[in-house]
């Protein structure tokens, strides 16, 4: 007896999610001349400038359609829908077939291969990361690839254990909360608690943040910020994600990295069960995505030569799956928790277009490689031709 859902069944469920998104977009009048996109020819004629840059923004806390692209959710993402979508090619059906834990899933996004390590382990990805492919193939310096990530566990995401890659070839990783913890005397942490929020994926696993000499050195040498400047600005921010975007902007100003990866994480507060905080996190991510795009457009180092890719690492459980508890977790592996979306913006990428065919989250790395001109031989995904 085979109980396995057939590929056709899973495809049907994923397609339903995608169809719903498409209907929402149509209802909102956002699709424009998108229909001809199915089977379209990439806009090669729009001559991409040389020396492409790529900024990837992932939501390291799954977001569901109900709170984003569904009719009731659209009020939470006015910037994604109103500002970015009309300029973007939108993939309605991005399926994640890997482990639905944020660190391991983000690592899978960064390697283009489904990683299988323990989500809570202090582990490097087994497969080469996009940063290593990029720097090795194009002989780029360490300052040209960066990751800005939530603190817990993500410190190893910059480079893999893969033979021929690994040590010295990866991205610099900045964990803004560690920076802040290092910059602040322990007794003053209270003023910054809203920025030091940590992992919610496990109900309890929240080790105290540590910060030290290395982080302070990063502040000074990489971000060119004094402790006073950094902490003064941090005090004006309302969340950990805002701190991450502040750090990312500082990196862009100081080093203009060609490959920058930012993981937003506030919405993962959903694991605490407070729906209002989860929605707040989505609204903040929506605003921050628009701000990042605005920064790209207003910075001469980035304007006109930068692709921005925005995608959640995966979704969250359906309200109606008895194995889960709705928005709170992503434990069921149902179609809603595995199917998400991606937005691509940049020179030569068709604006206001919708791609309905199913793609996988592992397609991200080969697509970045194709766009920037390097090979990604160990990635499992395929190049998304619509983004070339």
């Amino acid at each position: 007896m085979s109980n396995r859902p057939s590929p056709a069944q899973f495809r049907q469920a994923s397609q339903q999610v995608a169809m719903d998104r498409r209907e929402f977009l149509r209802a909102a009048g956002l699709m424009g001349a998108a229909a001809p996109l199915l089977g379209m020819t990439p806009l090669r004629a729009a001559a991409k400038p040389r020396e492409q840059k790529v900024v990837v923004v992932t939501f390291g806390g799954g977001a569901r359609d109900e709170e984003t692209f569904a009719p009731d959710g659209q009020e939470n993402i006015p910037h994604l829908i109103g500002t970015l979508l009309p300029q973007a090619t939108f993939f309605t059906q991005v399926v994640n077939r890997g482990i639905l834990g944020h660190y391991v899933a983000t690592a899978s996004l960064a390697t283009g291969a489904y990683e299988t390590f323990n989500n809570f382990a202090d582990t490097s990805p087994a497969n080469p990361t996009v940063f290593e492919y990029y720097r090795k193939a194009l002989h780029r310096p360490p300052t040209d690839a960066w990751v800005v990530a939530p603190s817990n566990g993500f410190n190893r995401i910059g480079e893999s254990d893969a033979r021929g890659y690994g040590a010295g070839l990866g991205a610099g990783v900045i964990l803004p909360k560690h920076l802040l913890a290092a910059a602040m005397p322990q007794h003053q942490h209270g003023a910054y608690t809203h920025l030091l929020r940590d992992n919610y994926e496990d109900p309890y696993y929240t080790p105290d943040l540590q910060g030290g000499e290395f982080e302070l050195n990063q502040l000074d040498s990489m971000l060119k910020l004094s402790v006073e400047e950094f902490t003064h600005h941090a005090r004006s921010l309302s969340s950990a994600d805002e701190l991450s975007v502040y750090v990312a902007r500082q990196l862009m100003r100081q080093h203009a990295p060609s490959l920058l990866w930012i993981t937003l994480h506030d919405m993962d507060v959903a694991h605490s069960g407070a729906y209002s905080l989860y929605v707040e996190g989505i609204r903040r991510s929506d605003r921050l995505c628009a701000e990042i795009w605005q920064t790209i457009q207003s910075d001469p180092e980035y304007a006109g030569r930068t692709t921005m890719l925005v995608l959640p690492d995966f979704g969250r459980d359906s309200d109606f799956d008895s194995g889960g508890n709705g928005f709170q977790h992503h434990r069921t592996g149902d179609a809603l928790s595995r199917t998400t979306w991606m937005m691509a913006l940049g020179p030569g990428i068709r604006a206001g277009a919708v791609v309905d065919r199913p793609v996988q989250s592992t397609d991200l790395v080969p697509t970045i490689g194709a766009r920037m001109g390097f090979a990604t031989p160990r990635a499992q995904g395929r190049v998304l031709s619509e983004v070339l």
């Binding site: 007896m1 109980n3 396995r4 859902p5 899973f10 009731d72 077939r97 482990i99 639905l100 834990g101 489904y114 299988t116 390590f117 323990n118 809570f120 942490h189 608690t193 809203h194 030091l196 929020r197 940590d198 992992n199 919610y200 496990d202 109900p203 309890y204 696993y205 929240t206 080790p207 105290d208 943040l209 507060v269 694991h271 605490s272 069960g273 407070a274 729906y275 209002s276 905080l277 929605v279 707040e280 309200d319 109606f320 008895s322 194995g323 508890n325 709705g326 928005f327 709170q328 977790h329 069921t332 592996g333």
Partner: protein, 404 residues
């Protein structure tokens, strides 16, 4: 150990009722795939302090499995037999520590891409079992009442958006004594239909003693000493050298009311264990009262299957740094009434979904009531969908419309 090697001595560490149950079913247990046997033992091991509905479900499963001939049983459980396990998991003490086995199994299923197959196998089994042993309808239609405390308010927030398509929205509740009317109704209901664990009250602050006298009751406020002890233990574990999620979960799973010096309660061991489970298994239940109410409601409906469930949402604390909230030193933290209203509104929707999963769903009713707005939502078999009440209603009128 393989299931075929099980003997009565294998269950020496089990509590008395659980031991008697599984020893009596040894012939069936010996034929089961290891993964399935461990899952069944995880339920059975806690038999002594399960709710009556859960105990019935465990007995029904054994009875169903025993009713199948060997070939049919093998075919039904083939998906479980096909699971590939790491040696360390297969050789672990799954008889005495089935929960740890399940944690390891879950991690393995995800990392080896077997999770989808496993879920499908579990669904197929549940369908077959429930088809053979249908759940009995409740002795009276189920009723869930969700009350949003008067302090819960957010200007401009539209209440009951998710529930409105399913029933009648009451824009004006006209009743100065709504809570008293509701309590009196519930007292009568519980007295007329006495049932073990049949009437449950969960409060996000301190319980109303008048209602608590008649219903099995738990409250976020009443559990404060237990919550603080648990948070201290969590802090100790996190501060130890080799702390991690697995160690933490294992430690929490081993906590008993006795180990917390929690005296026995009049509601019985099953309900006391249930309260402890809400705090040790639920994510966020220790720090947010709104999460406590929602998760406790979900688990009460799933496990105890009460005919009456009363939920009262009160303001939760503001969100702080997670480590700070886990420290338990947040008594001076201000409440978040606006966020709590949104949490409660979603909690009411989830309570309705969870109630719909139980037997007698077609006859079940739900009333959600905002004390601040004096607005309510009525969902039930007699309530037309997506409708707005034309005139103000009192609490007595709403209850009469809902349950007669």
């Amino acid at each position: 150990m393989q299931p075929a090697q099980l003997t009565p001595a294998s269950f020496a560490a089990y509590p008395p009722q659980a031991r008697a149950l599984v020893v009596g079913q040894l012939a069936v247990l010996r034929t089961l795939p290891l993964v399935f046997a461990a899952l069944l033992l995880r339920e059975s091991r806690a038999y002594d302090w399960r709710f009556p509905a859960e105990q019935q479900a465990i007995r029904d499963q054994f009875s169903f499995l025993a009713s199948l001939d060997e070939a049919a049983r093998r075919q039904l459980l083939a998906g479980f037999a096909a699971v590939k396990l790491p040696d360390s998991t297969r050789e672990s003490n799954w008889v005495d520590q089935p929960q740890q086995f399940l944690d390891a199994l879950t991690a393995s299923l995800w990392s080896t891409h077997q999770i989808d197959d496993f879920r499908q196998s579990a669904k197929s089994y549940a369908l077959a079992w429930r088809k053979a042993k249908p759940e009995q309808p409740p002795i009276l239609p189920r009723l869930t009442l969700v009350v949003f405390d008067a302090a819960l308010e957010q200007q401009g927030y539209e209440l009951f958006r998710k529930l409105r398509p399913h029933g009648v929205f009451v824009p004006q509740v006209q009743d100065a004594n709504g809570w008293a009317t509701l309590v009196a109704h519930l007292q009568r209901r519980a007295q007329l239909h006495p049932l073990p664990s049949g009437h449950i009250y969960i409060d996000g602050a301190d319980a109303d003693p008048t209602l608590a006298a008649h219903l099995d009751t738990t409250s976020y406020g009443g559990l404060q000493p237990v919550r603080e002890q648990l948070l201290q233990r969590i802090q100790q574990i996190l501060g130890s050298a080799n702390s991690g999620p697995e160690q933490l979960r294992t430690t929490l799973a081993g906590i008993t009311p006795q180990s917390l010096h929690w005296p026995a309660e009049s509601t019985g061991e099953a309900f006391q264990r249930f309260q402890l489970d809400v705090l040790t298994e639920g994510s966020g239940t220790q720090i947010f009262s709104t999460t406590f109410v929602q998760w406790a409601a979900r688990e009460a409906l799933r496990r105890a299957q009460p005919v009456t469930l009363v939920l009262r949402y009160a303001p939760r604390q503001r969100s702080l740094n997670m480590n700070e909230m886990l420290s338990g030193q947040t008594r001076n933290n201000l409440p978040d009434p606006a966020g709590s209203l949104v949490d409660a509104d979603m909690g009411a929707f989830y309570a309705w979904i969870d109630q719909q999963r139980l037997s007698g769903a077609g006859q079940s009713s739900l009333l959600a009531w905002s004390q601040a707005r004096q607005q309510a939502m009525l969902v039930g078999p007699a309530m037309p969908r997506n409708t707005v009440a034309a005139a103000p209603l009192s609490m007595a009128q709403m209850l009469a419309q809902l349950v007669g």
